[in-house]
């Protein structure tokens, strides 16, 4: 030892070296697990794209086995289960995903869709709202939420969300058409016609929008 070393300081330093070394070791191991889980999930995604959902589900489950808090795997597993018609199981996995990551907007949105398919509209609205609290730019979620609100007769709420959807994505023909319908339901036919026309400008083959426009015109006359 050097003549100027203090034994206590040496012990503390050694302790620190050991602690940080273990921390580093844990970091590397954890990241290896993460990479493995990510690789399984990506493989699952590729299989999902090919509609080979059974195999995809196996890969997602492997990912979860390797890293039990890998939220992407939960979400994507839930998606695949949903495609297989196992909506209840898929809802359970979405719930697990949002429990592990409370700001996982995509999972809230997917959960909303699954609940909506189950006819649990109130709960679905709640999940869409959570997704939008995290990211208000999710224009498809704005549209989905508005559809459910309109279904419940809350046209003012629906109009607000349709408008937010088209503000973010002005080329969203469906949202223009839906907004037109909500406005028409409130008796605001002139405004409704403007949005049906916009939907038709974006997609001239949009039959629903054309029919709605004609209906609105006839009602105005």
């Amino acid at each position: 030892m050097t003549e100027n070393s203090n034994p206590m300081r040496i012990v503390i330093s050694l302790f620190l070296v050991v602690v940080v070394t273990f921390l580093g070791y844990w970091l590397v191991l954890d990241e290896r697990k993460h990479s493995k889980a990510m690789a399984y999930t990506q493989r699952g995604d590729a299989l999902s794209e090919l509609k080979r959902y059974d195999e995809a589900i196996e890969y997602y489950q492997q990912a979860i086995k390797v890293k039990s808090n890998y939220v992407e795997a939960y979400n994507n597993l839930a998606n695949a289960l949903g495609k297989k018609g196992k909506t209840k199981e898929s809802i359970a996995y979405y719930n697990e995903a949002v429990r592990l990551k409370s700001d996982f907007a995509k999972a809230y949105s997917n959960l909303g869709i699954a609940l909506s398919e189950q006819g649990q509209f109130e709960e679905a609205i709640g999940q869409y709202q959570k997704a939008l609290e995290i990211n208000p730019d999710l224009f498809r979620v704005q549209n989905n939420l508005a559809i459910l609100l309109a279904r419940q007769g809350d046209f003012s709420g629906a109009i607000e969300h349709y408008q937010q959807a088209i503000t973010f994505y002005p080329g969203f023909a469906k949202a223009h058409n839906n907004l037109g319908s909500a406005l028409a339901a409130q008796g605001r036919f002139e405004e409704a016609m403007t949005h049906f026309e916009k939907a038709l400008n974006i997609d001239p083959n949009y039959i629903d929008a054309r029919k709605n426009l004609e209906l609105a015109r006839s009602l105005v006359r």
Binding site: T2, N6, T21, L27, D103, Y169
Partner: protein, 527 residues
């Protein structure tokens, strides 16, 4: 005693010489790696600069302009090719190694300096840091380390204070992150004045000269843009948008980014980083190291801060931390040597250094010694079209006039550089247009307008697995591109990146459908 010291030095220098030669050999072997997109941006902007076009006037970028001036110098001296750019990086890296050796020697003697320098050379070569690509961080480090070295050795020599500030100011001008090296300089100088540990005859003059040197490059650039009437472009890109960019990542995601990239660096370089850790703790138990605690801890902390802006923690950002970690590795090495038995003092230093550096090199041996340049690029960047950009650019160059413009709907500015064709739009990257910030829509509208106005001869669309069109982003730009390209352009080339080994190129052939999710479509304007 004297012969032992000499043989110790000889052994040590032999080891260092071998590793440095190895580093040079690896860099020479990988000189031909294709440019990645940041390099492509620097090279394209530098190419424009050489034609008299100031950065930000015809191309947006949030980086300070120093890197473009540096690249312009490189292109002018070494030529306009990836090899030329990477050769210049070799020189810059070696110069930084030398400065770090001087700094280490000044701090704690020859062995610490030697170990710091060679550790830096090995660490900055690491694929986990994307070290063989000429990222701006390499060019920040040379003036930053030079400035700090001058500051340490300034004593009462006024010119050194000025040049120290000047070098740190130049580092800042290359990348905003270097502000933390400037901060370290200010804090270090301030501590010297306050504690009077350095006998300053004229503290105000020294501090004033340091500040004047530091501000000189910044004022020069501000004046340059002010006089040419482009200050608002410069300000928007480097301050307004850059501020938005830096605020986009949450601390949670930031931690995940740090963990992901640092673990890879740690995994492949742990012996050297373990020496750094030892060096850091030896501040507490070695008096000669403890005397320099302010410098060592301060430099370590400020260098860490330099990698944090925006919480992106991209692999090459970590390069900014490497001088501090290398210095600490040098300190750790010197500390280990100091506690080794005096009988073994001839061999122990060389053995420790060989083990630490050798293990790091061995763990990365495939990248360093075996993989051909394209495979080495694939290993780091996956299916990004960096190798393909050369052939795409060649096709564009062969089928267009020098005055023709091109557009790239993606983030591949290296295509502009290789093809030597100007961009139809100021937006070389699509990232800023698709990110969530105040200016995204304005930027999208600008891009659409600029492309339609310029009527580029070729438009390259990079479809890289939903790279720039994520389900969460507004499809406005995608809709526009689809409509515009369908009406005014026809596909003249398809580049289908099937795997790490295989890419299919189809030029002037109709009907080929890409198989891969990573493909590029080259559209030619209808005549």
């Amino acid at each position: 005693m004297e012969p032992r010291i000499n043989s110790q030095k000889t052994c040590l220098l032999l080891v260092v010489g071998i590793f440095l030669m190895g580093v040079v050999w690896v860099r020479l072997r990988l000189l031909g790696v294709p440019l990645e997109r940041d390099e492509g941006e620097y090279a394209y902007m530098a190419q424009q600069l050489l034609q008299g076009i100031l950065p930000y006037t015809e191309a947006h970028s949030m980086k300070f302009p120093g890197i473009y001036f540096v690249y312009a110098g490189i292109l002018a001296i070494f030529g306009q090719s990836p090899v030329a750019i990477h050769l210049s990086l070799l020189f810059v890296n070696l110069a930084t190694v030398f400065l770090l050796f001087l700094l280490g020697r000044n701090l704690l003697g020859l062995s610490a300096g030697v170990a710091a320098g060679v550790s830096f050379a090995v660490l900055t070569l690491s694929p986990a840091l994307q070290g063989v690509w000429a990222n701006s961080e390499h060019f920040v480090l040379l003036p930053a380390v030079g400035g700090i070295l001058l500051l340490r050795t300034a004593q009462d020599r006024p010119a050194r204070f000025f040049f120290s500030g000047l070098l740190l100011g130049c580092a800042l001008l290359i990348k905003q992150h270097a502000i933390f090296f400037c901060l370290f300089g200010i804090m270090y100088l301030g501590s010297k004045v306050v504690t009077q540990s350095q006998s300053f005859k004229k503290p105000f003059l020294s501090c004033g000269l340091f500040a004047a040197g530091g501000l000189a490059p910044v004022i020069f650039i501000a004046l340059l843009y002010g006089v040419t009437g482009n200050f608002s472009d410069f300000w928007f890109c480097t301050v307004q948008y850059a501020t938005e960019y830096a605020a986009m990542t949450s601390p949670d995601s930031g931690f995940a980014n740090f963990k992901y990239n640092f673990s890879q660096i740690l995994e492949s370089n742990f012996p050297i980083l373990w020496l750094s850790l030892l060096g850091l703790t030896s501040v507490a138990w070695r008096k000669e190291v403890g005397r320099e605690y302010l410098f060592l801890i301060g430099f370590f902390a400020c260098s860490f801060l330099a990698i944090t802006p925006g919480f992106y923690f991209r692999p090459h950002y970590f390069l900014l931390w490497m001088p501090a970690l290398s210095l600490l590795a040098g300190v750790g090495f010197a500390s280990l040597v100091s506690i080794s038995s005096s009988r073994l003092k001839t061999l122990v230093p060389a053995a420790i250094l060989t083990l630490a550096l050798g293990l790091s090199v061995w763990m990365q041996k495939e990248f360093f010694f075996t993989l051909p340049v394209i495979k080495a690029t694939r290993l780091i960047y996956g299916l990004n079209p960096f190798p393909e950009s050369l052939e795409i650019a060649q096709y564009i160059r062969d089928h267009s006039q020098k005055t023709d413009k091109i557009a790239v709907l993606g983030s591949e500015p290296q295509i502009h550089f290789y093809s030597q064709r100007r961009s139809a739009t100021r937006h070389l990257y699509m990232y800023p247009l698709m990110e969530k910030h105040t200016y995204a829509r304005q930027m999208q509208a600008e891009m659409m307008q600029e492309v339609e106005g310029a009527q580029p001869k070729f438009v390259v669309v990079a479809n890289l697995s939903g790279f720039w069109v994520s389900p969460d982003s507004s499809p406005t730009l995608k809709d526009w591109a689809q409509g515009y390209l369908d009406s005014e352009y026809e596909i003249s080339g398809v580049v289908d990146i099937l795997s790490h080994e295989e890419t299919v190129y189809k030029w002037d052939e109709r009907g080929y459908l890409p198989q891969s999710r990573y493909h590029l479509l080259i559209y030619k304007r209808k005549t």
